[in-house]
């Protein structure tokens, strides 16, 4: 692969991770925050797979596969929580669910 | 990969696709007419030639293209525009891994009759099929219509439920064949096994009996895994949203469900996608379960080496290639006929019956099939050593 090295893939992963983190911090819509969390997980996966290729070992890919399994479970449970939350509060603004803040 | 010409494969791919898609409308009309004891559509004619109703697909296309393309107010314009394409494109690109035949050496060229012979061919079809969910799901949402939304929710639930059963049903077949490559499966299905060979292994018959060697059965997928063939067919038909699984389309309940706000050629694209998917289902089942491009009990390598002294190597390969393509297409046509038969005989399932079938019947059966297949493989390996 010409002039593209592992460094380039890491930069892409870092960019996507930062964009996801920015989304979690700035956005107030529950669903968009959850999607930003998925972006962060994907960026971590990209980093893992890229390192796996650099080292020549497939452990990174297996780790990435198991991260995907965990992400799938987390999405299922998280969306179930979001459904009950929105049904009860009738809002998707996360600032309206702050009853337990001091 | 050495010099490998895929031009023949691409030509076949285009031929099958472009030829089958409009002919399927004709097949649907005429076969349903035959089954229901009526004549079917036979009015369209060019200069007085009716051609058994084959002009009707042309008339349909002209009608659909010249219809007004309505976009309702309040609709999401981008989604409304691209949803038909998202529904059709996965069906078309699934053809990339279907093997019309094996690999032939003709006139110095290495001709492979598969457009893209991927190592993970079947996984590619599943991955692409899971993208097709979006085409139907976004269509109902994009139209800003309550009936459309209802159809969308039903269709997304149905499609993702049957994707689970789809993947697990064929794991038994992968375990036996040991490969995901569709052309390798086609080659492996040309082997035969002796039906009564176990008598010899257990010592119940003398080791030199001749009649045991005469009774052989080709190792087709449907012979090795009969129940998964029907489960896979069921799951694929549910993915395709054709009757009896067309609750999302609910023609009598929710007024065409998720494509209620589509008119003209966009609606035509959805219908085309469904019919192309019927051909994809038939081709996939043929390649995996019905022996692909080979005639039973006739190994292709034997045939080519047998014909080479008579016709020369190039012509022998060419003859084998033509035979393979014809056999494959005949099997595909038989399966298309079978699917149309099912579509026009069974009433539509209720939504809870569809979910029940997917989760409570297909999933446990496919898991049990994996366990039984694994046991079977272990037993056969123990006995034949």
């Amino acid at each position: 692969m010409g002039d593209v090295s592992g460094f380039h893939f890491q930069v892409v992963a870092a960019l996507i991770f930062m964009i996801g983190a920015l989304g979690v911090l700035v956005r107030r819509n529950i669903i968009v925050m959850f999607m930003s969390i998925e972006l962060m997980l994907n960026a971590a996966n990209l980093s893992l797979v890229s390192f796996s290729r650099e080292i020549g070992n497939d452990q990174g890919q297996i780790f990435a596969f198991l991260v995907m399994v965990v992400a799938a479970v987390e999405v299922a449970v998280g969306l179930a929580i979001i459904i009950s939350l929105v049904r009860n509060r009738d809002t998707v603004n996360i600032e309206d669910t702050s009853q337990m803040k001091w | 990969m050495a010099t490998s010409t895929v031009f023949v494969a691409i030509f076949l791919f285009a031929l099958v696709l472009l030829a089958f898609a409009p002919v399927m409308t004709w097949v649907e009309r005429k076969q349903s007419a035959l089954m229901q004891d009526r004549i079917g559509a036979n009015r369209a004619s060019i200069l007085g030639f009716k051609a058994l109703g084959l002009i009707h697909p042309l008339a349909d296309v002209i009608k659909m293209i010249t219809k007004e393309d309505t976009v309702p107010t309040g609709a999401h314009r981008l989604l409304h525009f691209i949803s038909p394409f998202i529904a059709v494109v996965p069906a078309i690109i699934s053809f990339a891994v279907i093997p019309y035949g094996g690999v032939y050496e003709m006139w110095g060229a290495h001709v492979s009759l598969t457009v893209a012979d991927l190592d993970y061919g079947v996984l590619y079809v599943f991955a692409v099929g899971s993208i097709a969910t979006y085409g139907s799901m976004l269509a109902g949402w994009a139209g800003n219509n309550n009936f459309g939304m209802l159809g969308s929710i039903r269709v997304s639930a149905q499609m993702i439920s049957y994707e689970v059963a789809l993947g697990i049903t064929v794991v038994g077949l992968f375990m036996i064949f040991g490969t995901l490559k569709l052309s390798d499966m086609g080659v492996l299905q040309q082997e035969t096994f002796r039906l009564f060979g176990f008598l010899e292994h257990f010592g119940w018959v003398a080791p030199d009996t001749k009649w045991i060697d005469w009774i052989t059965i080709p190792m087709w997928g449907i012979v090795l895994q009969p129940l998964p063939f029907f489960m896979f067919l069921t799951a694929l038909m549910a993915e395709n949203k054709r009757a009896p699984f067309d609750t999302p389309e609910g023609e009598s309940e929710i007024v065409a469900g998720y494509f209620i706000e589509y008119s003209g050629m966009k609606f035509g694209l959805y219908m085309m996608g469904e019919w192309i998917e019927v051909v994809v289902i038939a081709a996939l089942l043929t390649a995996m379960f019905l022996g692909g491009w080979s005639i039973p009990w006739l190994r292709e390598a034997d045939m080519i080496s047998g014909l080479t002294p008579i016709l020369g190597e190039n012509m022998a390969n060419l003859a084998a290639m033509l035979l393979a393509v014809h056999v494959f297409l005949i099997k595909v046509i038989v399966l298309i006929f079978f699917q149309m038969l099912i579509r026009w005989s069974m009433p539509r399932f209720r939504y809870d019956q569809v979910m029940n079938l997917g989760w409570k019947i297909l999933l446990p059966l496919s898991l049990a099939n994996i366990v039984i297949t694994a046991l079977g493989i272990l037993i056969v390996q123990e006995v034949t050593h």
Binding site: V12, L46 | S156, I160
Partner: protein, 166 residues
């Protein structure tokens, strides 16, 4: 050719990630940008010789997880509730973008230290067979634990999303 593909997929991934967080009209637009991002990442995985992971990315992430997101958005009928309250203030966005940009630059500077050429890997690297063999021999315990986790997730999702039967 592969370099060009890398740039195309990377640009698509980063731009659609920006589309996920920067979309102010409806959550559906964010979800669609997420799909494009997942597909672009799957392309990057295939470029990294990780074919099995790339296919599973399309099948699981783009084909099931984002479908779940869209399903929930449709179920709750969230039309046009994209940007709410505090998000529309430009000061917040500017500060957020500055912090994110700074963190990225710092991360990139740390990463720029190591730049080794890639080793050659044999043909079986990253194929389904290799991953399957490793998963079911060396990492079989992880697979079992993942199975139990999935079961717990299924039960939890069913219990949480049920309407109360009074």
């Amino acid at each position: 050719m592969r370099t060009a593909l890398f740039w195309v997929f990377s640009a698509a991934a980063v731009l659609s990630a920006l589309g996920v967080i920067g979309n102010v009209r409806t959550p559906i637009n964010s979800a669609l940008s997420l799909v494009v991002s997942m597909l672009a990442l799957a392309g990057l995985y295939v470029l990294l010789e990780a074919q099995f992971v790339g296919l599973i990315q399309v099948m699981v992430y783009a084909g099931a997880i984002v479908v779940l997101f869209l399903f929930v958005i449709m179920l709750l009928n969230l039309r046009g509730s994209g940007a709410i309250g505090a998000e529309t203030q430009p000061i917040m966005k500017a500060i957020g973008a500055l912090v994110a940009g700074g963190a990225t630059l710092w991360l990139v500077r740390t990463l720029a230290a190591g730049r080794a050429p890639w080793p050659d890997v044999d043909d079986g690297f990253g194929t389904t067979r290799a991953i399957g063999e490793a998963l079911y021999t060396d990492y079989v315990l992880s697979v079992q634990v993942a199975g139990v986790l999935l079961l717990a997730g299924i039960v939890a999702a069913v219990v949480l999303a049920k309407k109360k039967i009074d």
